[in-house]
C-alpha cells in the first residue's frame, strides 16, 4: 500500500502531514518513508532518521575513446539534446546537456563510446527512532534534473526495521511529493495506491490543488484532501472538493502554537497528543478509501 502526500502549492503542510501520518502508522504497521522532494527534502528534520547508508546516484554519460573514434558524427546526429558535438576530427561531450539515454553508446558504429556515472545527487537511508525505514533523495546544488534521482529513490526500498515487538499488520509506504504539478510529481505518484492532497483554503491553495488533482485523476488514483490552516481563507476549496468528489479527510485549524511547534521541528502528533487520534482515524479512512 503506497500513499503519496502531495499539494501543488508549496508550504501547505505536506511534510507536516506526511511525517505525522508515518509516525502513527508506525505504531502498528511496517512503514517505509520516501522523501521525494529531491530539490528541497525536509522530512528528515522531523523524523530524525539515522542515515547510515549513503549512495551516490546520477546518470550514465558517454566517454569517447579518441583512439577508436573516427569522427563520423553519428553520435552528434542522433543526440536529441545536443550533448555531443563533432567538429573536424574532434568529438566533444557536454555532460550538463546529457540525459543519460544511452543512444550514442548503442549507435556508435566504432563502439568507441563507454559510459560512466556522472553523480548528480545521492540517496541516504536509515531508520528513525519510531522504527520507520527512511530514504531521501537529494539533488546536488547546481544540477538541473532531479528525475534520475527520484527514479533511483523509488527503486531503493530502504530495509524495514526488524525491531517491532508485534508483527506488523500491514506494510505501508509513504511518499512525500515535491511541490508543483510537473513531471516529478507524476513520477512520485506513479505506482502509488492513494494520493493525499494537503492544501490551504486560499485561492492559491485551490488553484494549485486543481493542478495536482488533475494528475491523480489522469493516473486513475483515488484521492482525499487535508485542509491545513483551516479558517484562514474562504470556502472555495470545500466547494471544489464537493463538486469533484474529493473527500475531505482531515481539517487542521490555523493555530499559532502548531505553527511554532512545526517551525521548531516537531511533527503535529508530537506537538499535540490529540492529533494522534485524528491521524489514526485519517490513516484508517485512507485505507478504507482504497479498498472501496
Amino acid at each position: 500500500m503506497r500513499i503519496v502526500v502531495a499539494s501543488g502549492k508549496g508550504g501547505t503542510g505536506k511534510t507536516t502531514v506526511a511525517t505525522s501520518l508515518a509516525q502513527v502508522a508506525a505504531e502498528r504497521d511496517a512503514v517505509r518513508f520516501l522523501d521525494c522532494d529531491v530539490e528541497t527534502p525536509n522530512a528528515a528534520l522531523f523524523l530524525h532518521p539515522r542515515l547510515d547508508v549513503h549512495r551516490d546516484v546520477g546518470i550514465r554519460v558517454p566517454r569517447v575513446d579518441p583512439q577508436t573514434c573516427n569522427a563520423c558524427g553519428t553520435c552528434a546526429e542522433i543526440c536529441r539534446f545536443n550533448a555531443i558535438a563533432v567538429v573536424g576530427e574532434t568529438t566533444l561531450v557536454f555532460d550538463d546537456l546529457c540525459h543519460g539515454c544511452g543512444s550514442c553508446t548503442w549507435m556508435c558504429p566504432e563502439q568507441a563510446i563507454t559510459e560512466h556515472l556522472l553523480v548528480t545527487g545521492s540517496i541516504d537511508s536509515g531508520t528513525t527512532p519510531d522504527g520507520i525505514a527512511f530514504a531521501r533523495g537529494m539533488m546536488n546544488v547546481g544540477q538541473a534534473m532531479g528525475m534520475p534521482i527520484l527514479r533511483e529513490l523509488k527503486k531503493s526500498s530502504p530495509a524495514l526495521s526488524p525491531t517491532m515487538t508485534v508483527p506488523p499488520r500491514r506494510t505501508l509506504e509513504i511518499r512525500d511529493a515535491p511541490p508543483g504539478a510537473s513531471c516529478p510529481v507524476v513520477e512520485t505518484m506513479r505506482g502509488a495506491d492513494f494520493v493525499l492532497f494537503v492544501t490551504e483554503p486560499t485561492p492559491f491553495g485551490l488553484h494549485d490543488l486543481k493542478q495536482v488533482a488533475a494528475i491523480a485523476r489522469e493516473l486513475g488514483l483515488p484521492a482525499g484532501v487535508v485542509i491545513n490552516r483551516d479558517g484562514i481563507g474562504d470556502a472555495a476549496v470545500d466547494a471544489y472538493c464537493v463538486e469533484s468528489d474529493l473527500p475531505i479527510l482531515l481539517r487542521i485549524p490555523m493555530d499559532r502554537r502548531i505553527a511554532e511547534a512545526i517551525a521548531a521541528g516537531s511533527t503535529l502528533v508530537e506537538a499535540n497528543l490529540d492529533d494522534r487520534h485524528r491521524f489514526r482515524a485519517l490513516l484508517e479512512r485512507i485505507l478504507a478509501e482504497v479498498t472501496v
Binding site: 501543488g8 502549492k9 508549496g10 508550504g11 501547505t12 522532494d37 530539490e39 528541497t40 525536509n42 528534520l45 554519460v61 569517447v64 542522433i78 536529441r80 566533444l92 561531450v93 557536454f94 555532460d95 550538463d96 540525459h99 539515454c101 544511452g102 543512444s103 548503442w106 549507435m107 539533488m139 546536488n140 546544488v141 547546481g142 544540477q143 538541473a144 532531479g146 515535491p178 511541490p179 508543483g180 504539478a181 510537473s182 513531471c183 510529481v185 507524476v186 513520477e187 486560499t202 485561492p203 492559491f204 488553484h207 494549485d208 493542478q211 495536482v212 488533475a214 494528475i215 490552516r229 484562514i232 481563507g233 499559532r256 505553527a259 511554532e260 512545526i262 517551525a263 521548531a264 521541528g265
Partner: protein, 317 residues
C-alpha cells in the same frame, strides 16, 4: 535594465504575496509605468490571482518531442522496452505504448526499433500568455499538469519580458520565481541582477534557504534575504540571521505574521493595496525601499564559485 527575481527554495513562504506587493508599490513610486512583470512559477502560476490580467495574447507552448508507437507496424518484440532507461514503454492489453509523461524524448527506442514503428512527435505542453495587468504588463505561462521542461517555458517567459523591457526602455523586470533549486529555478535566476529570497523562520525554511543561496552563488547572482512570519519562531529567525551574516548576506528585513496576508489573497489583492497600514504591508514597503536602493547601486556581480557543475562544463573529458 535590471532583473529582480523573488525566490524561496521552500514553497509557501509567501513569495508571490511579496511579488504582488512589490508590483503594487512599484506602480506608484518612481518606478510607475517602468516595470515589466514575469511569473516564472509556471506550474503553480498564482500571480495572476492577484494581478487580474487581461489577456492580450496566448500562444501554445511546445515542449520536447515524445515517442509514439505505430501499433499497426509494431511486432510486439519489446526491444524498445528493454532499452528505455526512463521506464516510459508500458505494456497494455493492446500492446506496447509510450507513456508520454515518462518519455524523456531521447529517441533511443526510435533508433532501436527493428521495424521502424516508432516516431517522435512534438507535444503542446502548456501555453504562454501576455497580459495587461493591474500593475503593468505581465508575461506568464501555464504548464499543463504533469508536463516536463518547465525550465524551457520559464526561459521563454523571462526572455519575452526582458525583450519588452529593452524595447520600451523600462528599467526593471520583476520575476516571481519557482520553488526548489532545479531546472526552472536555474532558468529563472541565471543572469539576473538580484535575487530576493523570501524565507520563513522554520527548520525547513532554513535548510531550503541554504540550498537556494548555494544555487544563487553557483550562478553568480547576488542575494538578499527577507524573513516572512519572522515572529512565529524568533529562535528560527535568529538562526537565519546568523547563517546569513556568516555567509556575507544582508538580511534586509523581517515581515511579521499578519492575517492580512491571507486576507488579501482571498480578496485577490496585493496586501499593500488591501490594507496599506497592516503590519505586513508596512514591513513590505520598507523591504521594497531597501531593494530599490540595492538595485540602484551598480551591483558588482558575485563571482561564481568553482563547483562540480563548472568543472563538468569546462572539462567533461
Amino acid at each position: 535594465m535590471k532583473q529582480l527575481v523573488i525566490l524561496s527554495g521552500k514553497g509557501g513562504t509567501g513569495k508571490t504575496s511579496v511579488v504582488a506587493a512589490f508590483a503594487h508599490l512599484a506602480s506608484a513610486g518612481p518606478f510607475a509605468g517602468q516595470v515589466i512583470l514575469a511569473d516564472a512559477d509556471v506550474d503553480a502560476a498564482n500571480l495572476e490571482l492577484v494581478l487580474h490580467p487581461k489577456r492580450l495574447d496566448t500562444e501554445p507552448f511546445r515542449g520536447g518531442e515524445v515517442a509514439v508507437i505505430d501499433e499497426d507496424q509494431c511486432v510486439q518484440c519489446g526491444d524498445c522496452e528493454s532499452i528505455c532507461r526512463f521506464d516510459a514503454i508500458v505494456e497494455t492489453d493492446a500492446g506496447w505504448i509510450v507513456d508520454p509523461v515518462a518519455c524523456e524524448g531521447c529517441a533511443a527506442c526510435v533508433h532501436q526499433c527493428p521495424t521502424a514503428s516508432i516516431a517522435m512527435q512534438e507535444q503542446t505542453v502548456g501555453e504562454y500568455a501576455y497580459s495587461d495587468s493591474l500593475y503593468g504588463p505581465l508575461h506568464h505561462a501555464h504548464l499543463y499538469p504533469g508536463q516536463e521542461s518547465s525550465g524551457k517555458l520559464v526561459t521563454e517567459v523571462r526572455q519575452r519580458a526582458c525583450r519588452q523591457a529593452l524595447d520600451e526602455q523600462r528599467p526593471l523586470v520583476l520575476i516571481d520565481g519557482p520553488p526548489g533549486i532545479g531546472c526552472p529555478v536555474i532558468a529563472a535566476v541565471s543572469g539576473a541582477d538580484l535575487a530576493l529570497l523570501v524565507t520563513e523562520p522554520t527548520v525547513a525554511g532554513l535548510q531550503d534557504l541554504r540550498r537556494a543561496l548555494q544555487t544563487l552563488r553557483h550562478f553568480g547572482v547576488p542575494a538578499l534575504v527577507c524573513i516572512n512570519k519572522a515572529d512565529v519562531y524568533p529562535v528560527g529567525a535568529q538562526g537565519i540571521d546568523a547563517y546569513c551574516r556568516a555567509n556575507g548576506i544582508d538580511t534586509v528585513a523581517r515581515v511579521p505574521f499578519d492575517p492580512s496576508v491571507p486576507g488579501a489573497m482571498v480578496a485577490g489583492a496585493a496586501v499593500t493595496a488591501y490594507r496599506p497600514d497592516a503590519p505586513a504591508s508596512l514591513a513590505l514597503s520598507a523591504v521594497w525601499q531597501q531593494v530599490v536602493a540595492v538595485l540602484a547601486k551598480d551591483l558588482p556581480g558575485a563571482a561564481p564559485a568553482a563547483t562540480v557543475g563548472d568543472a563538468a562544463r569546462n572539462n567533461p573529458d
